[in-house]
C-alpha cells in the first residue's frame, strides 16, 4: 500500500506558497496578524526551518489571503510569484533540461508544489493534455481561486522556460467570471468556460523545447535534496482516485479494506476532505468517458462497455448527469 498525506498532516515547509502569500500580502499593506488569524500558523513558525504546516492550514491561509487582498488580480499575482520560489522542489523544476522534464519534476514534487490539485497527463493529436482534479472538497469560490493561482503559476512557468511566446489553452468548468479581463491578461486569450472538465492544453512540441535556464548540476543537486525529504507520494483523495482508476468497480467496502480502514472510518476520512465516495466514483467515470470520447475518439458503445454500463441509453443518461451534455454533443 502506498503512503499518503491527509489534510491535517503537517509536512509542508514555509517555503513556496506560504512565503509567497505572506510576502505579497505584506507588500500590499495587509497586517501579518490579520492574515494568520484562524489559520493556526504563528509568526515564529514562518521563520523556523523545522516547522511544518498542513494542507488544511494552507487552504485556510489562502482563503484569508483572498478575503484580505480583495482585488480581482491577487490570485494571478500570487501564481506568477510562485515561479520565483527558492525551495529545492521548485529549483529542480526550474533547472530541468526541457519543459517536458520540468513538468515531470512538478509531478514528482507535487505534494510540495501543488498539493491542492492532482493531474492526469495525456498526449494526443500533437497536443499535451493536463486534466485537473481537486485534492480536497472546496467551496466554489475558493476552488476557482486556487485554480487561478495554479493556472497563473503554470503559465508563468511556460513563459519562463520557453524562449518563444508560448500558447496554452485553459478550460474551466465554472461560468465566465466577472473579472474575465484578469484571466485574459494573465493567461492569454485561449480561455473556455463551462467546460465538462478542467484542463490545460499545450502543443506537444513545447515539451521538447530546451530550457534557457537549464543546468544539469543544479538540477541533480536539487533532486538529491528532495529525495532525502519526501516519503509520501499522494494526497489521500488522489490515492483513492488512483485505486478507483485501477479497480473500476471497487465498492466502498473494498476500497476501505485496501486503505486498511473500516468502511465507517473510511467514510469519515472522506468526509473530513469534504468528499463523498459516490461523487469520487462519478468523477472517475466522467473523466474516463471524456478521455475515451474526445482524446481516443471511441464510440459510445465502446465507452459504455469499458465503464461497465448495462446499455447505451443508461450510459447516455449518466453522462448527461455528469456533464450536462450528451456524448455526441461533447464530440462536436
Amino acid at each position: 500500500m502506498n503512503s499518503y498525506v491527509s489534510l491535517s498532516d503537517k509536512y509542508l515547509t514555509a517555503q513556496g506558497l506560504i512565503t509567497a502569500v505572506v510576502e505579497l500580502a505584506q507588500s500590499r499593506g495587509v497586517a501579518l496578524h490579520k492574515l494568520l488569524r484562524g489559520t493556526g500558523i504563528f509568526e515564529q513558525d514562518l521563520l523556523s526551518v523545522e516547522h511544518c504546516f498542513s494542507l488544511e492550514q494552507q487552504v485556510k491561509l489562502l482563503s484569508q489571503f483572498k478575503r484580505l487582498m480583495n482585488t480581482p488580480d491577487s490570485g494571478f499575482l500570487l501564481g506568477s510569484q510562485l515561479v520565483n520560489d527558492s525551495s529545492s522542489a521548485a529549483q529542480s523544476v526550474l533547472f530541468s533540461a526541457k519543459l517536458g522534464a520540468a513538468l515531470l519534476q512538478i509531478q514528482r514534487a507535487r505534494l510540495q508544489l501543488c498539493p491542492l490539485f492532482f493531474s492526469q497527463h495525456y498526449v494526443s493529436n500533437q497536443q499535451f493534455y493536463i486534466f485537473l482534479n481537486a485534492a480536497t472538497g472546496l467551496d466554489d469560490d475558493l476552488h476557482n481561486y486556487i485554480l487561478e493561482i495554479y493556472s497563473a503559476a503554470f503559465y508563468s512557468l511556460l513563459k519562463r522556460l520557453s524562449p518563444h511566446y508560448p500558447q496554452c489553452e485553459f478550460d474551466f468548468s465554472f461560468k465566465r467570471p466577472r473579472h474575465i479581463h484578469q484571466y485574459e491578461q494573465h493567461l492569454g486569450l485561449k480561455l473556455r468556460f463551462e467546460q465538462p472538465t478542467t484542463r490545460w492544453v499545450i502543443s506537444k512540441t513545447l515539451l521538447r523545447q530546451a530550457n534557457p535556464y537549464a543546468s544539469e548540476l543544479r538540477f541533480m543537486q536539487a533532486r538529491a535534496q528532495l529525495a532525502v525529504k519526501s516519503h509520501e507520494k499522494y494526497t489521500f483523495i488522489e490515492a483513492v482516485w488512483r485505486y478507483l482508476h485501477t479497480y473500476n468497480e471497487a465498492s466502498l467496502e473494498q476500497t476501505a479494506q485496501y486503505f486498511a480502514m473500516s468502511p465507517a472510518t473510511f467514510k469519515r476520512k472522506l468526509k473530513s476532505h469534504n468528499m463523498r465516495f459516490s461523487s469520487l466514483v462519478d468523477e472517475q467515470n466522467k473523466h474516463k468517458a471524456i478521455y475515451l470520447l474526445t482524446l481516443r475518439a471511441k464510440c459510445n458503445e465502446h465507452v459504455a462497455e469499458r465503464l461497465a454500463f448495462y446499455d447505451i441509453p443508461n450510459f447516455r443518461r449518466a453522462f448527461k448527469r455528469w456533464t450536462g451534455l450528451t456524448p455526441s454533443q461533447l464530440k462536436v
Partner: protein
Amino acid sequence: MRFNPFISHRLLTNSIIAMALLAIFLCAYLGELKELQHIQWLDIIGEGGIVIMTLTWIVALLISRPPGKVTRYLVLGLGLFMFSATLDLLDEWLMQPAQQWLSWIESLPAPVGMLLTSLGLYHWHQEQYVLNKQLRRREAHLREHDKVCPVTGVYTAEYLQSVLNTQLKAPQPVLLAAIDIRDFASFNNEFGFSEGDRLLREISELILMNCRLSDVVCRYAGDCFMVLMPATSKQQGQELLRQITAALKHCAFKVEGSGLAKFQCVTTHIIQAQKSDTAHMLMQQLHSGLQLQKQQRATSSEQLC
C-alpha cells in the same frame, strides 16, 4: 490608507479620552446613587445609544482622516457633544445636587460642540472643492470607490466597459488604445511588488498627463492600461499613443534603495470601434493585437527598444 488615532492624532485622541473621563469623574464625585426603582431604563437606552454612536463617529473620523483643521473641528465638536451626552446618561444613575454651575456644564458644551462641528463641515466643504479639482482628471464622470483600481487610482476595466458601451451608441468614432508595459513581470521579480505597484502608479500618472480631458484611462489588468478616446480620428489617436510611448521611454523611474533609473518600453495597439461591436469584443480584439505583437517580437527576438 488608514490612520492610527494614537499616532497620527495623539492630541485629539487624548483630549477625547480626557473629556470622557472628566464627565465620569464629575458625576461620580458629586452625585449620589439613585435607588433602583427610580432608574428609568428607557432613558438609559436612548441616551446611552447617543453616546455610543457619537463615539463611533469620532473613531471613524480619526481613523479615516489625516490630521488638519477639518478633522480637529469635527472631532472636538463631536467630543463636546459626547461630553454633554455622557453627563446626561450618568444622571440616570446618579442624583446630582441642584447647583447652578453644574447645570451650565451639562447643557453648554453640546451647543458649542454643534457649532464647532458645523464650522468643521464648512471647512470640509472648502477642502472637498479643492480635492475635486485635484481629482478631476481621475474621476471625470463619477465617484465610486469600487470602480477605481486601489493600486493606481485610475478606473478599472469594468468601468471602462460601461463607458464604452454608452460611447458605442454615440455617432462619433470611438478609439480604444491599449498600452502594455514590456517585461513588467521581471521588474516585479527584481525589485518586489511594492516597487512594482509604485511604478504602475507613476505610469498611470504619466499616461493621464498625456491624455486629453475627454479621454478615459483605465488599468485593464496587470501591466496593461487602456485609453478610451471619444470623437477622435485614427491619426490623432496614433499621435497621442506616440506621445505616451515617448513620455514613458524618457521617464527615468528611480527604484527605491537601488539607485537605478529604469526606463519603460511599451507595446501599444489601437483600434477603431465599429457600431456592431460590444465592449468586451473590442477589448478582446485589442488584446489579441497586443499578443500578436509580443509573439512576433519573441520569434524575431530583435530588440526594438
